[in-house]
Symmetry: C2
Subunit: 131 residues, 2 copies
């Protein structure tokens, strides 16, 4: 719990009850891809300590502070990735499931150069799956 509070403080986020609960759930050491709804559901399975609005607020703040990465490859459902290291994804549209691809399992040996006046912010490889 102290570890979680440290993480929050280090990002200038007050360690409120709700943020600690959310961060504790998210940063438990296992990589996760959550949606606002899935996270809200998991948190409120027992007690209702966090509102949906706070889940949204917190996910966005965590993104801004680079504790999470936002992934949008499905209309109407944004995923948040606790694995903030460089990596890619498999995506099964049918199952709505995201799987990590380790960065070393992909090699892009030729990349186009960015259009004039723009910089490359992120290179995202999505491998869409079917059965």
């Amino acid at each position: 719990m102290q570890r979680i509070k440290e993480i929050l403080r280090s990002k200038n986020l007050r360690p409120t009850k709700q943020r600690v609960l959310i961060a504790d759930h998210l940063f438990d050491g296992t990589d996760k891809h959550v949606t606002a709804e899935s996270l809200f559901r998991e948190l409120s399975s027992n007690k209702r300590d966090v509102s949906l609005a706070t889940v949204y607020n917190t996910l966005h703040e965590f993104c801004k502070k680079e504790l999470l990465n936002k992934i949008t490859l499905d209309a109407d459902k944004v995923y948040f990735d606790t694995n903030t290291s460089l990596h890619h994804h498999f995506f099964s549209e049918k199952d709505k499931i995201l799987l990590d691809i380790k960065n070393e399992d992909v090699k892009i040996s030729l990349m186009p150069k960015a259009p004039k006046g723009k910089k490359i912010k992120k290179v995202e490889l999505v491998i869409h799956l079917e059965d």
Copy 2:
């Protein structure tokens, strides 16, 4: 106009007034990335010959018949691509603009293998841009 009707007939789509109007606009030889709204706006600039529901219906049908490709990389806005050949995209989240990357400008020399029981449907490289 006859060319457009041929395209539709070849896909077993009745060349209705609305579909011809839409297809004529989409398949004019230049590659486009449209949204339902943008297409609806462009079509109804003068006369109102097509309803928004029909725009949605038609875009989905054209996708099913592989006259278009669906691209979802922005929550709440689906893009439809008239360029159905193999290629990738730059995406500027700020401008909400998609730019084609020619397939030969990208080389992926190492690809992970699909998870057991799944096949690779599509490999999508999205290069996110910033200023």
